[in-house]
């Protein structure tokens, strides 16, 4: 299968790894890790308190200096109104119409609110935003979001920060098959590079993660590990892996092998 380059809202990307900017030991380590990850898109969460007064400027300018495209997110928003206001503020602060839309419903799992998500997405699309919704892996929700005008979908692998990997590969695969031409990015729940590679082997177009790199003992090395895993997973998907089977199939034919009947002769 041809390894076609990924484009999101008309922007071509050579890296399929997207990285968050929170929880790093320092901005300097964040910058090094982003460089090692090769990510071309970084997400930044905006607190409305800081957005209104422009008081996060020092940190935001450090983020802008990373040279990656900034994808602001509405992390922590619990209602449609909050999310829409935060998105509008983020558009001003970061001069971008891209928004990673989060509307969170549940405190323990930080699970997205599917109903609020569709409503907020529709409002933001009408307002000219390019919306990347953080969603559960629900097929019907995916349809509604596409109907609302989202051109990219970001289902969770597992709850944010949980590091559990892909909780529901069956549903993720169904999503991939149903929407072969919509860019699908696994967002959240990734713990190790193996999880990221597994997502890519399912045919996902990219992986977005934060905690797994930021909270690793050595974030910079872990960022590089994820870059390699995402690339490996993508190559593997395009190279069309063999299907699993129940019985062994020898890679060298047994039949006619020289001296294969030696034990019997002995």
């Amino acid at each position: 299968m041809e390894n076609r380059p990924l484009a999101i809202y008309g922007t071509p990307l050579s890296s399929r790894l997207l990285v968050g900017t929170a929880q790093y030991p320092s901005p300097a380590i964040l910058a090094e890790a982003i460089k090692a990850s090769g990510a071309e898109i970084v997400t930044v969460s905006l607190r409305r308190e800081a957005g209104a007064s422009r008081s996060g400027e020092s940190f935001w300018s450090l983020i802008r200096e990373l040279g990656a495209k900034v994808l602001p997110n509405t992390a922590g928003c619990r209602s449609v109104k909050e999310a829409v206001t935060t998105a509008q503020m983020a558009r001003e602060v970061f001069a971008t119409s891209w928004i990673k839309l989060e509307v969170i419903a549940d405190d323990d799992l930080l699970q997205p609110d599917p109903f609020g998500l569709v409503e907020a997405a529709a409002i933001l699309v009408r307002d000219g935003f390019n919306v990347l919704p953080y969603m559960t892996e629900d097929l019907v929700l995916a349809e509604k979001l596409i109907g609302a005008g989202c051109e990219v979908l970001m289902p969770w692998g597992a709850p944010i920060g949980s590091g559990r990997g892909l909780n529901n590969p069956f549903a993720l695969q169904a999503l991939r098959r149903r929407f072969p031409h919509v860019p699908l990015i696994i967002d959240a729940g990734i713990g190790t590079p193996a999880h990221a590679a597994a997502a890519m082997e399912l045919g996902y177009d990219g992986v977005l993660l934060n905690t797994a790199i930021a909270k690793a003992g050595d974030p910079v090395s872990m960022a590089r590990a994820f870059a390699l895993a995402v690339e490996a997973g993508r190559l593997a998907y395009c190279a069309e892996p063999i299907p699993p089977r129940d019985m062994a199939e020898p890679s060298t034919p047994q039949l006619g092998r020289a001296f294969a009947d030696l034990p019997r002769r002995a």
Binding site: A28, I29, A50, E57, S58, F59, L62, G217
Partner: protein, 340 residues
């Protein structure tokens, strides 16, 4: 003899300015401390946690913080002995146990405690947690008391003077060296300095007793509680990339929820104080001694003011008086220094 000493002007009477002044005074220098507020330690230092925890800080800080932090620990227990060495406890709710494991992997100098070990040290917590990390060599102090003690110590030196309610810009008298210790106040002179907001609160309750700082791990809102004596507990602190000093409802909600999770009796405590200030930080969150001509900036101590100030102060004095160079914290070019 006195007139031949270079005169040192320290700007800012926070914990950095005071420890720097102390080092110069110990070296026999004549020191003048300029502070725009009406007393010492009214900025960032006022809201500090006062934990002297070089081992716990390994979780997120560079190795330098542990190394120099141990000097800080010694300073506050031997030279200006206001700290108490009772260790630090780190706990996590059962469902955040992986965070405790992660913390243990990234730090050193601790013992694992089971419920009975915890009961020996903090009986009030033993009903709440069945395991904990204990860092026996760590200490804590009351920052406001430490500032008073150090100010008192400085006042005993004949050639140390304080000038409060004084803006540095209004001074005309000459000084041989200006040591700028203004923290975030020096933002306009230091292009790569930023402020990182920290919010804290103080609770009062007679229902709980703690002898040492306790850190409660949480994936989103880690919090620490430091006993201040007389049933008062400092609860802190948020770490937000934001340069205002506003205390937000959301932050207080998070701090209180975490305190409540540590022990429900905090739910009945009285809130006696809330505050916020800006920690000065450079991009790697490590401090700097930065010379330009006869001005030396000592800044960027981030979350480690009381812990690192003594080591920084010692090196600042050595850099000025002996032309010593410390590559860990001095990022100027050597050629610049020679022309200075």
């Amino acid at each position: 003899m006195q007139a031949s000493f270079p005169k040192i002007r320290v700007i800012g009477a926070g914990i950095v300015g005071l420890t720097v002044a102390h080092e110069f005074a110990l070296a026999g220098q004549s020191v003048e401390i300029i502070e725009r507020a009406d007393g010492p330690g009214r900025g960032c230092s006022f809201f500090a946690g006062g934990m002297l925890a070089p081992w716990c800080e390994e979780e997120s800080a560079e190795p330098l913080v542990r190394e120099w932090g141990r000097e800080g620990l010694e300073y506050w227990t031997k030279i200006v002995p206001v700290a108490e060495v009772r260790g630090t406890l780190v706990v996590a709710p059962p469902r955040d146990r992986p965070d405790l494991l992660r913390f243990s992997r990234l730090t050193t100098g601790f013992d694992w405690l089971d419920r009975s070990g915890l009961a020996d040290r903090e009986p009030d917590l033993a009903q709440r947690f069945d395991t904990a990390l204990f860092y026996p060599a760590e200490a804590h102090l009351d920052p406001r008391q430490a500032v008073c003690a150090l100010t008192g110590r400085l006042r005993q030196f004949e050639n140390v003077t304080f000038r409060f309610n004084t803006a540095a810009e209004s001074l005309s008298g000459a000084a041989d060296w200006i040591i700028d210790c203004r923290g975030y106040g020096a933002r306009d002179s230091l292009a790569d300095l930023r402020g990182v907001k920290g919010e804290m609160l103080v609770l009062a309750t007679g229902e709980i007793s703690l002898k040492r700082p306790v850190r409660l791990l949480h994936p989103r809102h880690p919090v620490y509680v430091v006993p201040r004596g007389d049933g008062r507990f400092m609860v802190g602190a948020t770490v937000i990339e934001n340069e205002t000093r506003r205390v937000t409802a959301r932050s207080i909600l998070e701090l209180l929820s975490a305190a409540y999770a540590l022990h429900p009796a905090f739910g009945e405590a009285e809130i006696i104080e809330m505050g916020a200030d800006l920690r000065p930080a450079f991009p790697d969150n490590l401090p700097r001694i930065r010379r330009s001509g006869r001005v030396v900036h000592v800044n960027g101590l981030y979350r480690h003011g009381f812990l690192l100030a003594p080591a920084l102060a010692r090196r600042t004095a050595a850099a000025v008086l002996k032309d010593a160079f410390f590559p860990e914290v001095m990022d100027e070019h050597r050629s610049e220094r020679q022309t200075a």
